[in-house]
Assembly symmetry: C2
Homo-oligomer: 132 residues x 2
């Protein structure tokens, strides 16, 4: 599989895939002409990388974690790192939950009949069209 196909399959840009390789996160064989060729499992690897990026990990951290995921490294240090990242994600979830709660409160207030939403609606929409 060449880079364009991998990009299509994963929904990740070609540029991003090259960047992953540059960061040491994704390896590829090269054809005689220098073009990258990937195995089928590269798709899953890309998904994993994306998942970890989405979890707020940096390239560097992912680079450190991947050997553990591949079960190639298993030391007290690596296990501590895994737990540290997991705890970071935990804290991030807690923060997100707080923010969601805050938004829910605002939503509840804005949707309660007492906030006079209907009257506010029609007026505000007419008067502030450009804002929204």
């Amino acid at each position: 599989m060449r880079i364009g196909e991998l990009a299509t399959k994963t929904g990740v840009s070609v540029r991003a895939l090259r960047y992953y390789e540059e960061q040491g996160l994704l390896s590829a064989a090269r054809s005689s002409g220098g073009q990258r060729h990937y195995l089928d499992d590269a798709v899953d690897r890309v998904y994993l990388i994306q998942m970890l990026y989405a979890a707020g990990l940096s390239s560097r951290t992912i680079l450190d974690l991947l050997p553990c995921v591949d079960a190639k490294v298993n030391t007290p240090q690596s296990r501590a790192m895994l737990r540290a990242e997991r705890d970071r994600i935990d804290r991030q979830i807690t923060q997100l939950r707080q923010a969601r709660k805050r938004l829910d409160e605002v939503i509840a207030l804005s949707e309660s009949p007492a906030s006079g939403c209907t009257r506010t609606d029609t007026n505000a929409v007419r008067q502030r069209t450009t804002v929204w």
Copy 2:
């Protein structure tokens, strides 16, 4: 309260506070000499801003949300935006949970006795000191 005190109280840098003002998120009165003066409730406002930043919202989005939080704007559009952001946070939490689950699996594997962790430990630590 001047900017330095607000920075100390909130743990946010002076530069960040000026940035918030530049983005329209935080307002301040000015002394005759041009220095910013904040009311006590600015502390809570800064905490709120930080919370929303932590939830992954951009300055622009926060700028749009704040009037709703302050209950100054309440239109169908604004309520839709609130719900949209809430749902975005929801999806982000889901993603984070997936990533955490994945890490937990790796952790479980690396800590299971079957992975031969003790032998791997001592060897790996001695052989790969520079890596870690």
